[in-house]
């Protein structure tokens, strides 16, 4: 198809601002799907995604639409909805020429919308402002238009007012996509360059890549090369998602579709990589490619030691479907055999954890998430460490560096005080304050990632009564005054409880942790000291008092059956504990670091 008749676009929106509903409505109006099919929200494929109201995997749908007597191919590319998937979002946006910026008329601009809108601009997209849910009683389209104008420079007169739910204004919006968004450049005669913007693993076909052809074209049975990884494949199937898979023989310049090439392992495909013709390769790959960066790490141990092989099999399967997730065998004196896992962010970690329990039915003990640090040792070498236990002896450390992010928070002006206090307590440095409107403000901070991954978002939601939204972007590693704190249970250091923290927070964090531990470890027959140590020096202590009395005073014939039940229950309660020395530590104790309540 002539590139002039192609439009590639995405929808950028905050969770619940109506992205999926709008997509469904467009599919309906263009006749791509029926109303009944729309109910199933085709763009979100996994059960988990729908429940959490987020989209984990991007995919693309091709809509064929007649406008003013001419046929158009509209490719709607879905973007992941969370900050953890920043890189994937950027690749999906790179596959488009335009983006619909959807804002809820009753909620206003949120941090994530801003972040993704900026990302769309950075990747060369033309933006269309869309105000959704204008039929809600609480809708304030004028205020929202003002915010959009202020933050993103889209004039308030240019915003489209729609209701995706009722269908109001959707046809006009589709017309605007054709009229106002630019078509792809016609580079069909150049050497082939196609961007992989997403991939999924299918049980029957192996890996399915979602691609956008920027120059040249792709044909079935063509020999192709992945420029980033250097691997070669033969294309076995090309097609469009309509939204079902519809095979085609060729995907031309400017078009979007899927590709199957007998690729077994998802790890062999990297989002952002460029595909070229192996017999006539392009000189350069498309710009912007890098490997996804794992920012958060956590240890997973099977709740039951015999589940170790089961856990490994589950991780194998998860890694097949999620190239951003990694795992490596790890063992801890306290917790036995388990795995060190890497994630893009905290939400990504929670998703993996939920899938483990839901799809694989394995209970896990998980240690506190930690970020990846850089250590410069005395000999000048710099290495990345993602577990406190990997930290060399302090005498060998020349410098410790931690990752920093640019953090954006959008909130109501009435909650700004609480948020600033929170940010200050988390070592965040205020860079910019920007009033979006009379009532809403955007705060920009430089923040240590470690302070953000921990529990920042939950606390932020609390202090802002649920209104504040945030987004962050990794900016780089910087030297920091960090220390490792060890937790000693009955004088024995428990490696799985160690933390790397800023020196100024060490005592408070350590104390908070042992108070939580004190509450979650049952009393024993002896007193158990809980201590926080930095390099052998104890900085805080709590004590779990011994229990003194636990015996049934009267037990005669008539009580035996009842007592046996009680004793069995008591015995069951002791299970699912890990022994450290002579102390039984329940699973919940290891989770207490994650627990944000006081």
């Amino acid at each position: 198809m002539d590139t002039k008749h192609i439009r590639n676009f995405s929808i950028v929106a905050h969770i619940d601002h109506g992205k999926s509903t709008l997509a469904d409505r467009m599919l309906e109006i263009t006749g791509t799907i029926t109303e009944r099919e729309a109910k199933e929200q085709l763009l979100d494929s996994m059960e988990l995604e729908r429940e959490r109201g987020i989209t984990i995997k991007a995919s693309a749908v091709t809509m064929n639409y007649e406008y003013e007597g001419e046929g158009y191919m509209l490719n709607l590319i879905d973007t992941p909805g969370h900050v953890d998937f920043h890189y994937e979002v950027s690749r999906a946006l790179a596959a488009c020429e335009g983006a619909l910026l959807v804002v809820d008329a009753s909620q206003g601009v949120e941090a994530q919308t801003v972040a993704n809108a900026y990302l769309a601009i950075e990747t060369g997209n033309e933006l269309l402002g869309v105000i959704n849910k204008i039929d809600l009683p609480a809708a304030q389209p004028d205020v929202v238009a003002e915010e959009i104008e202020h933050v993103l420079g889209i004039s308030r007169g240019e915003c489209f007012e729609i209701s995706a739910k009722s269908g109001l204004g959707i046809e006009e919006l589709i017309s605007a996509v054709i009229e106002l968004l630019p078509p792809p450049e016609d580079k069909g005669d150049r050497k082939t360059q196609a961007l992989i913007f997403d991939s999924i693993c299918d049980d029957y076909r192996g890996v399915i890549c979602f691609i956008r052809v920027f120059s040249g074209s792709l044909k079935t049975r063509q020999k192709i090369r992945f420029m980033g990884t250097g691997r070669n494949y033969i294309i076995t199937e090309l097609g469009k998602m309509t939204p079902r898979m519809a095979p085609v023989d060729e995907i031309g310049c400017g078009e979007v579709g899927y590709l199957v090439a007998n690729i077994r392992n998802l790890a062999d495909v990297t989002v952002g990589d460029t595909i070229t013709n192996d017999n006539d390769p392009a000189q350069e790959p498309l710009p912007g490619y890098h490997k996804p960066m794992q920012m958060v790490f956590s240890d997973f141990y099977p709740g039951n030691n015999t589940d170790y092989p089961k856990l490994r099999a589950a991780f194998d399967k998860l890694a097949m479907n999620d190239s951003s997730f990694s795992f490596a065998a790890q063992s801890s004196p306290a917790l036995g055999f388990g795995f060190r896992c890497g994630f893009l962010g905290l939400l990504h970690m929670e998703i993996v954890q939920e899938r483990l329990e839901r799809e694989h039915n394995i209970e896990v003990i998980q240690t506190a998430p930690t970020v990846s640090y850089e250590v410069k040792t005395n000999d000048g070498a710099v290495k990345r460490i993602d577990s406190p236990s990997m930290l060399p002896d302090p005498s060998h450390i020349d410098e410790l560096r931690e990752p920093f992010v640019k953090l954006e928070i959008i909130t109501g002006v009435d909650t700004i005080g609480g948020i600033m206090k929170l940010a200050e307590g988390r070592r965040c440095k205020l860079l910019k304050t920007d009033y979006l409107s009379k009532t809403r403000v955007m705060l920009e901070y430089k923040a240590p990632l470690a302070e953000i991954v921990y529990d920042f978002y939950d606390v932020l939601k609390g202090v802002s009564h649920g209104y504040a939204t945030m987004d962050y972007e990794f900016t780089g590693y910087e030297k920091s005054n960090l220390v490792k704190i060890d937790i000693l249970v009955n004088k024995i250091p428990v490696d799985a409880l160690s933390l790397i923290v800023h020196r100024t927070n060490a005592e408070a964090r350590g104390r908070r942790l042992i108070i939580k531990l004190r509450r979650s470890i049952d009393r024993h027959q002896f007193e158990i000291p809980l201590q926080v140590a930095i390099g052998g020096k104890i900085i805080a202590r709590e004590t779990i008092k011994a229990f003194r009395k636990d015996v049934t005073s009267k037990l005669y014939g008539g009580d035996v059956t009842r007592k046996m039940k009680v004793l069995k229950k008591q015995k069951e309660g002791k299970k699912r504990m890990k022994s450290v020395g002579s102390v039984q530590i329940p699973q919940k104790a290891f989770m207490s670091i994650l627990d944000t309540s006081d």
């Binding site: 003194r548 009395k549 015996v551 005669y556 009580d559 035996v560 059956t561 046996m564 008591q570």
Partner: protein, 377 residues
């Protein structure tokens, strides 16, 4: 080797008044016609082959609150029908006895008396709702001796809210100086269904803290032991040869017949208990029907676990040969790991030469945490 021995327990479901801590099934005596209940109990006993019974225990409730002739009729039934009895105990409330009554019991074959003293401190007695004072206990004891009883037990309760270690020490001393052969000392357990339970929820009474409770318990073990009244079970102490044979049967996991409302039995391999309602019991027995409310036949594994659990309450613990012959299981085959673990932390002693596994002294105050490990396998 101890062969299994059959016991008989008679539950008298009446009290003069209900004590504030008591969770046992009983009704207030004056509100009930006791005659029909006692005749139901007699008919209940007739249903069993009681000729092999070796130990008898009449408890409650307060057996001593029954009209004398009625209690005597039960005692007489036992004396006539149970020819092999070696120990025959009756529980009495010190406020309900006189010379004639006690003489009557003794003459009819009762050879052991258990006096529900609970405390020798009058303020404590009043607090827990007893109707007698400490002088009444001493008087009852003297009358019992005079009536001929050479085997008298005294029940004590410690860790009563407001109690101190000194107060309990004085009660122990009085029990010792009276010269009793046997003492049972129970830590007060506050059950939710009792007036004490409700008062605790309301914050009107505060439980004695664990450390003091434990100190009182350890004091009982030490002080009674020094006086020659040696601990032989978690809560029971006796001069040598005066251990309660009836209850030793329970802790050996021997069979016993229980008659009366709410009484439990372990008979022909089945554990069952009678309906906890006087009227239903009387009607059931009268109509020739079953009065069993609940029953359960433990399987061989359950029997082994029950045996281990009750045996461990004895200071002599589990006798390995006896355990094997009774349950068919070798204790160390089924619980070897657990025994070894507790031996290592000093909670259990495994006396290889004597073939016994028993709780160490430090395990006694926290025995349930050890014993619960034997509750299943």
């Amino acid at each position: 080797m101890n062969a299994a021995m059959l016991g008989l327990y008679v539950h008298i479901p009446f009290c003069q008044s209900k004590c504030r801590y008591c969770a046992f099934y009983s009704e207030v005596v004056c509100e009930r016609d006791t005659v029909e209940v006692v005749s139901a109990i007699l008919r209940d006993m007739e249903r069993y082959d009681v000729g092999d019974v070796e130990t008898v225990y009449i408890g409650g409730g307060s057996p001593s609150c029954l009209p004398r002739e009625e209690l005597y009729s039960i005692v007489d039934f036992v004396s006539v029908n149970c020819g092999k009895v070696t120990e025959f105990s009756v529980e009495v409330n010190p406020g309900q006895v006189d010379e004639e009554f006690l003489k009557g019991l003794f003459d009819r074959g009762v050879n052991r008396l258990s006096i529900g003293a609970q405390s020798f401190d009058n303020s404590e007695l009043e607090f827990i709702g007893r109707r007698h004072d400490s002088a009444a206990i001493e008087k009852a004891f003297d009358l019992a001796r005079a009536a001929g009883f050479g085997n008298i037990s005294i029940d004590l309760i410690f860790a009563i809210p407001g109690s101190t270690i000194e107060m309990f020490g004085r009660s122990l001393d009085r029990a010792i100086s009276l010269g009793s052969e046997h003492v049972s000392a129970y830590s007060l357990s506050i059950e939710p269904s009792t007036p004490f339970g409700r008062a605790q929820v309301e914050g009107e009474i505060v439980k004695v803290d664990e450390t003091a409770d434990r100190a009182m318990y350890e004091m009982a073990i030490d002080r009674l032991g020094e006086a020659g009244i040696v601990q032989y079970e978690i809560s029971n102490f006796a001069r040598c040869g005066f251990e309660c044979r009836h209850n030793l049967g329970c802790w050996a996991n021997d069979p016993y017949i229980g008659v009366g409302p709410a009484a439990s039995s372990y008979y022909n391999g089945v554990r069952f208990s009678n309906v906890a309602d006087v009227a239903a019991y009387v009607d059931g027995i009268g109509g020739g029907e079953s009065v069993i409310a609940e029953s359960h036949r433990p399987d061989t594994k359950e029997v082994a676990c029950e045996t281990a659990v009750v045996n461990l309450r004895r200071r002599k613990g589990i006798v390995l040969d006896e355990f094997k012959s009774r349950t068919g299981f070798d204790l160390l085959d089924i619980f070897g790991d657990i025994v070894e673990r507790f031996v290592r932390n000093g909670m259990i002693v495994h006396d290889d030469a004597a073939g016994r596994v028993y709780l160490s002294k430090i395990a006694l105050p926290i025995a349930d945490t050890v014993i619960c490990e034997f509750a299943n396998f």
